[in-house]
Amino acid sequence: MLEVRQQYSFYGILLYIGATIFVLFMAIEEPESKVWNGLFWVIQLFICINAVAKSFLQESKGRMLYFYSIASPTAFVLSKLLFNSLLMLVMSVLSLLLFTLFLGNPMLKAGQFVGLVLLGGWSLSLVFSFLAAIAAKAQQNAAIMAVLGFPIIIPQLILLMRLSNAAFAPLLTIPVSTVLLLVALDAMIILLAVILFPFLWKD
């Protein structure tokens, strides 16, 4: 895939994570857990846009034509989703590490929070992969992806932030039903992507 061919873009995202979190480190020191949580998810969102947008926007037209000739749209979109999910999972873990390193560690239930971060990273990558496909077809830049994606991602972000708030409070437990709801939403996004992508694909 693209990141293997153009390794600089992969390192670019790594540097993006590092630089953003370093700026935050300069801007505030040791935020309280609620602020930490909010900042963390906003940074996740921006990392996701930058990491995932490349997957479609930087593919050249010729290469898309090549993919078109060798693979079915379903296989193509599924492979893209899978790759972006893996990429985003790695990035999530990395940004979590940097966050705890630079901005302190207010987590009380670290294991659960890591699970939520992985789930959240996965949800974000799925939604933005599909939106990147739309934006790429519309021949637009990453800005339109933000316009298209932010309203759609807000409900999931609200759920994620509420869930992860529970990971900081000693008395709250994380409701399993909400986690299942997020997983169900992700499953639905995959299904929609598989159904709708063939329409985007042909030109």
């Binding site: 599909f130 739309i134 309203p151 759920l159 929609l192």
Partner: protein, 231 residues
């Protein structure tokens, strides 16, 4: 939809709504008092918006099945009119909230940021933002077929994620807005009495028909324009 009976029905229902809505008895609830009459307008706006967005999505699906550009135009105009209804819903809601939710000791505008955190308002804001984005996406593409295809795909994708979220979120987050326990929009059994229901349901139908009427006019105008451009 070129027949006229449903247009007459729409006008008749709306006249009925205005007369009955402003003059008939309403239950006096603490805090709400006479503002409860806003139910016939505020809630109907959101119902009409939801219905029109749904019609827009149905037309997007029809476009992807047939590739007839007519359905793309339908989908766009239904979305635009639904946005207008959504804005009107906010307007009527703001009037209502300034009498019921706002802190009476301060100017109503100071309560804005507290009120705007309500999950139903967030949901409605997301819906409007999604469809604004839809319009921007659709109008940013020059090629007609491509525009129709991509915007239809986004329309369906956004709707499919958005509407479950709108129905689920209010059940999870705390809210002042009525209808918290069961139905996110309003609890028909407990919130409105029988005498209000006989005004409320016709009002919903009347406002929705009015929205459809406006949309068909816009669609016919656009179709005529397109016909002139490509004979």
């Amino acid at each position: 939809m070129y027949k006229s009976w449903w247009k007459i029905a729409s006008i008749a229902l709306l006249i009925y709504t205005f007369i009955a809505g402003f003059l008939w008895e309403v239950p006096r609830l603490p805090l709400l008092q006479e503002t409860i009459r806003n139910l016939y307008f505020h809630v109907c706006m959101w119902f009409a918006m939801m219905i029109l967005f749904t019609v827009s999505v149905v037309n997007a699906i029809r476009y992807l099945r047939t590739f007839n550009l007519k359905y793309d135009i339908y989908a766009r105009h239904f979305a635009v009119v639904a946005i207008v209804f959504g804005l009107l819903g906010y307007l009527t809601g703001a009037i209502w909230a300034s009498y019921t939710w706002a802190d009476p000791n301060k100017p109503a505008i100071n309560s804005f940021s507290t009120i705007a955190r309500d999950p139903k308002l967030i949901g409605a804001a997301i819906a409007l933002l999604v469809y604004f984005a839809y319009l921007i996406l659709r109008d940013s593409i020059q090629d007609m077929d491509k525009r129709a295809r991509i915007s239809a795909v986004y329309n369906i994708f956004a709707y499919a994620i958005l509407f479950p979220a709108i129905w689920i979120l209010p059940r999870i987050l705390p809210s002042l807005h009525p209808g918290n326990e069961d139905n996110p929009a309003l609890d028909v059994k407990n919130d409105i009495s029988g005498s209000m229901r006989i005004v409320f349901y016709p009002a919903v139908i009347g406002w929705t028909l009015l929205g459809v009427w406006i949309t068909t006019l816009k669609i016919r105008f656009t179709l005529l324009k397109e016909k002139k451009m490509m004979p």
